[in-house]
Amino acid sequence: MTRFLVLFAALGVVWIQEAVAQDVHIVSPSGYFIADGDDPAWAAPEFDHSRWRFQRDRRIDVPAGIQWIRAPIHIPASYIEENQPLSVIVGAMASNELYFNGVLVGTNGSPAATPAEEEPGLITARYYLPPSLVQPGENIIAVRLSSQQLQAFRGDIDMEIVISPYLDISHVRLVRHVPALILFGAIAASVILFGAMYFLHRRDRASLWIAMTFTFLAAQFGAEVYKGLVNYAYPVQLYRYLVIVFCAYGAVFSLLKATLWRLQAPRNTTLAAFGIAHGAAILSAAAVSTIEPKLTAIILSFLVVCLVLTLNGIRNNVRGSIPLAIGLLVVSLASVEGVTLFLDRGFFYGMTVLAAILFVLQAQDFRRSEMMADKAAAQSARMELELVKRHIQPHFMMNTLGALSEWIEENPSASVDMIQVLADEFRLLNDVSSKDKIPLSQEIELCDAHLQIMSYRQDQTLTLHKDIEDASQQIPPAIFHTLVENALTHNRYNEDKVSFLLRQRLHEDGSIQYELLVPMGAQKNAQKKQRGRGLGFTYIEARLEEAWPGAYQIEEGPTEDDIWRTSIVLGTGQRSA
């Protein structure tokens, strides 16, 4: 099931990329000649720029003043034969003027030598190229530009110069945004689904962090596509980058959190994972100079830590680790396309695949927890029935009635008292049997009532001494009552007075220890000295598991002075209630 989904998602991504690639007709310069300073003569097509600084890279180091860039560009004859209008698109964090074959075709803001004089241009400028200006083959684009705002943060700027058919522009825009809209839909659906799962089921922290991952991802994605949807003044670009970096960090941080929750990693592993991820992110981001590689380094550092954790999860047979590892691998591998494509789309495509995988895993988890809840409810009902059944089973009932009829013969007023105590025990049992937790004080009442009944039955004095720190603490119903009952069933006391002891200790780590000490008396036969864990024990363990799943300890055994000791510790481990 999961494998099919992964395959399906991967095919979808490939298909969308193919569709986008086919429809874009663009030409770009193959290199840039750059000169600092300002001279109107630099616009002329015949100007010899051969002594200018030359670079093929689009990243340009802009000085404090004005700069000129001359870019020879080859325009195919087919563009002109079709006689369609062309456009030049300049994307840069700069104000600029564009000259085509020496003719000024437009300005974007106004370049100037000082920040005060400069009027900031838009981040993307689109200039109309009159067909009369264009000649097949070699043409010269000259750009006069300045980037005075945000001097301290600016550094290199990305200079994108593209020529494409004017009418294609809207179509290209639309096609480019189709996958974006699809992805945004998937990401938004993830936020809603996982967010809802967390709010429905507060203990499900994994869902919370998955929802956070996709919330950050949606914000990052929004900031990414903002550029294409809204044309803004170039200084805004810096804030956009800050938003993108913050959101990308938030997304991978939340993804790591979610991964750790899914794998139920212990505290030490969690701390180590965060330490390593942050360390790797800082070191690798420091090693590269520009914004896109830095961001990619941060994202990949976290992804690799997640992947390592998940691979470890596969080794330890943690459910769902394999699909999760596949998803993380898909996201990580998307970076082989290069940083720009990774940040533009690869990261989002990969994360969409991961979202699909998480949908399936979460649905499986949901179903499993539903089944477990059903099972627990059935178990609980069985426990309740068992508790009540123990008291209407013939051995208890008939012997109690037998003793009662003898008390009526011997001492009618004692028999009336016995009936009262019997009624008390049944009333208490009725009150507690359907609950999953009751206060210790109520449990003690139940034990006392049972010991009184047994005192009447055996004409003995059976008492429970209490050494309790907090009687309001909650425990599953009838667990000590069951232990007391077991003790009276398995031991025979010849003495006229027998006392038990119930001790409660609150520990500093939040756990609570209970000890029941019972004299061993005469065992009915030798082999029974090693008591098997009978039905009563099954009852106690089931009740403890129901109320403190996995967070309790129970042990029993004889002590040196012939006392049978049962110790129950509640609220152990990290899953304590």
């Binding site: 013939p394 008939m398 037998g402 008390w407 009447y456 003995q460 069933t489 031991n491 010849n494 009915k524």
Partner: protein
């Protein structure tokens, strides 16, 4: 009359003791009470008793395992238990009666009356009165359970009985002929002071000179018939 009561509930034991004492007042019952099977076995090793009153569920112990062994002994056993669903099984093991808890005086009296057969014609029991389907027999190191339907005839052997089966084997049982007749069903008939026959295997009643009688069995064996028993035997056979 010597009685041993095994009961771990003190008040219940007191009640039973009081009731037995008043029901068997004329027989001067000597009732000994122990709370466990362990102590009961110790007591039985050193004392002869006539009746065992046994609670099957003692301190969570199942007295059933020991029931067959107890039923193979010379005394009669009456089970007193809350677990009435085990009653039928108890009868199969050869107990005299099963009295459900809580114990009522009339029910206990009825059980104890089964021990008393003085109302029989000549003062000795002639016809089986019980319902048991199995007899427990002590064999070296174990208790064997034998189907009553396999028993051909039983002879007295001192204070014991010798049980003869269809396959011509014989087994010694600690109970007397009279005690066995209290348990065995009514197809068992006393044909002699010291012989009980299973009438399901009976052939002809032969009379010889000098008023000697013989009961021929289907296996061609014949059993001597006591003069005092001829009339009732003849009634049963016709």
């Amino acid at each position: 009359m010597k009685i041993l009561m095994v009961e771990d509930e003190r008040m219940v034991a007191r009640g039973i003791k009081r009731m037995v004492a008043s029901i068997l007042d004329d027989q001067k019952p000597d009732i000994h009470h122990v709370p466990s099977l362990e102590q009961a076995q110790g007591f039985l090793a050193e004392n002869q008793i006539d009746l065992l009153l046994l609670d099957l569920n003692l301190s969570g112990d199942d007295g059933f395992d020991l029931l067959a062994g107890l039923a193979s002994q010379s005394f009669q056993t009456i089970v007193v238990s809350a677990n009435t669903d085990r009653a039928l099984q108890s009868y199969e093991y050869g107990v005299l009666d099963f009295v459900p808890k809580p114990v009522g005086r009339e029910r206990l009296k009825k059980a104890l009356r089964k021990l008393d057969f003085t109302d029989d014609t000549d003062g000795s029991l002639q016809t089986g009165r019980g319902t048991t389907e199995y007899l427990s027999i002590k064999a070296p190191g174990m208790i064997k359970i034998m189907q009553v339907s396999e028993v051909h005839y039983i002879e007295a052997a001192g204070k014991y009985s010798e049980i003869h089966t269809a396959d011509d084997h014989s087994h010694l049982h600690e109970k007397s002929l009279t005690a066995l007749l209290l348990l065995l069903p009514k197809n068992f008939q006393r044909v002699h002071k010291s012989v009980i026959a299973n009438l399901d295997f009976a052939g002809k009643l032969l009379s010889h000179e000098g008023s000697r009688y013989e009961l021929q069995l289907k296996s061609d064996r014949s059993l001597r018939v006591g003069r005092a028993f001829v009339n009732s035997l003849r009634d049963r056979l016709s």
